[in-house]
Symmetry: C2
Subunit: 346 residues, 2 copies
């Protein structure tokens, strides 16, 4: 399980000692110059600087961290970097980190709990001061307990942690799905299907609850045949749609539970004659250019990233109040696909 390439590609890398010898000063003086500490004469500074650039010296953060206990950096664990939602989230976290003078080290778990764990431990081993985590499905975060006890901070995004307490930044999943469903009801639909990710996915389950809330509030009886919880793979989505069509009273409208499902549905229905009204959970880049443009309940990935980063830095600044949970609101963006009325029977 260890690394494959194990060569000593290291040519002598100059150290402070080399600089000190070359500049004919003490080790500590070089350290002072490198770190901009006061108490060094201009002449000495110039001489040391000169030697540094001549030798191409670069301070070694490993030694620095060993000595100081830590170096300014945080870790960021994503579930999937190719999903635009997470891409925007990571962008926001990195911006905040950079503004705070922190290096953000990012890694991807690829939805694999074991990979998430390995990545988290590797970042901990590098003694990051904090961790922002988008948990992989089924992940267990007990492994973080010793780190948290040792003073590391952690913030979870999009899904709550399992097995440890920590700040969490979530979308108002239930409220958003409720709004999406209510929007379709307001436009006259009574047979509304819900198509989302597997029920084990935290967000998917909550969104289903929001869907049920809206139906109940409108006095529409829930029909389990109108609910499909599937991994958003093309075949699975196509199958679910076919099953809906075969029903005695097929749905006239559809709430999709995440952007991958939405896109899969659009693709499956691309050449369908009739198309149900659609409201998607989570916005996506070209929703406005679809025909018809797709109505969505938008999440705020940038806001989530920012909130998570701020929560993390608040902890790093010493805040040790109990773990908080932040919930960001969603926003319904009506574009057309969700405002078509149901076909009038007869």
């Amino acid at each position: 399980m260890d690394a494959a390439p194990r060569q000593t590609r290291d040519v002598a890398r100059p150290t402070m000692k080399d600089v000190a010898r070359e500049a004919a000063v003490g080790l500590k003086t070089v350290s002072r110059v490198v770190n901009g500490e006061p108490g060094v004469s201009e002449a000495t500074i110039a001489r040391v600087r000169d030697v540094i650039s001549r030798l191409g010296y670069r301070r070694d953060d490993a030694a620095r961290e060993l000595r100081n206990g830590q170096v300014a950096s945080i870790g960021l664990i994503l579930e999937d970097s190719t999903d635009p939602f997470y891409a925007h989230l990571v962008g926001a976290v990195q911006d905040v980190a950079q503004a705070n003078g922190m290096l953000a080290l990012t890694g991807t778990s690829d939805e694999d709990p074991a990979a998430e764990r390995d990545l988290g431990l590797a970042l901990c081993a590098r003694r990051v001061q904090g961790l922002v985590i988008v948990p992989a499905p089924g992940a267990d975060h007990h492994y973080l307990a010793p780190e948290l006890a040792a003073g590391m901070a952690a913030v979870f995004v999009d899904r709550p942690p399992v097995g440890v307490r920590a700040d969490t930044v979530l979308t108002d999943n239930r409220g958003g799905a409720r709004a999406a469903t209510a929007h379709l009801i307001a436009h006259g639909h009574r047979r509304i299907a819900f198509l989302a990710d597997a029920p084990g996915i935290f967000t998917a389950a909550l969104r289903r609850e929001g869907y049920r809330d809206a139906l109940a509030a409108a006095g529409i009886p829930a029909d389990e045949a109108l609910i499909a919880m599937e991994t958003p793979l093309p075949e699975a989505v196509r199958a679910a749609l076919r099953a809906f069509e075969r029903l005695d009273r097929p749905p006239t409208a559809l709430v999709t539970g995440n952007n991958r499902t939405t896109v899969a549905v659009l693709r499956a229905l691309a050449q369908a004659a009739v198309r149900p009204a659609i409201v998607g959970f989570d916005d996506f880049e070209l929703a406005d250019l679809m025909t018809p443009p797709v109505t969505v309940v938008a999440q705020d990935p940038v806001g989530m990233g920012r909130a998570a980063a701020h929560a993390l830095f608040r902890r790093l600044a010493g805040d040790d109040s109990p773990a908080r949970s932040i919930e960001l609101p969603t926003r319904l963006i009506a574009r057309g696909s969700g405002e078509t009325p149901p076909p009038t029977p007869g």
Copy 2:
């Protein structure tokens, strides 16, 4: 310029010494157990393991790196993580890194050369063994020279390095643009406009050359009024399109130089009565669901990421042959927008 939160949040973190004392063994024995080295009795291993998990001990990679010279990790510097093209690229690099037992630390330059430099130096300070870099526009990589001399490996992706020699993985920009333009010519177009990113962008300039190649090969005189090189902002793209329309003989077809430009064009033309034929450079997720579906010259971000990572690992394995440049082919995907003939005059 230093970090803001500077608290000592560190509670005593157990070290090998603590484990050794608690387990009543020597320091080196703990090290052996932690690293799975042979020569420790089963009983001792069990005892040490027990203490390790009881104390929540975690090996410190900083000390390890200081001692060993390095720890398995590579760095990855992106220009923009929210661009799907780069998102897929980073995914591929991370996959290969993981397969090689390496941790990939990713950061974003946000198209700022200074940020790229800072990030690169920070990763070097952490003594990553290699760096995969998507250069920010205008970046200068002289700063890497000492690192490369010290045995670090670097591979550049999508754009070549400036000021240092290193392996480079590029798209066949010129050939791709040539193919895109030739496709439109083959469908009868003679007035073909080219709309791409600023001419300072490496890829944009090459793609323009490919466009010119195709026109020349078909004996069509080049018309500078049909070439617009702009940052792909909505207003700039709209303005360029308006300028095209106002020409005496407006273009009947359009080659767009990157996916952001393509999308901006589609959005600007969304409610236009007549739409020129369009071929876009670089595929994008929902191109097939546009009306009409968008014909593109697809790049291979995953292939590029993989090629870059493999090149890097080859270097890490000791290959010190001269720097290579790898060029990946493009693939024209005809979907409809590029196959409409020009309107027959009269």
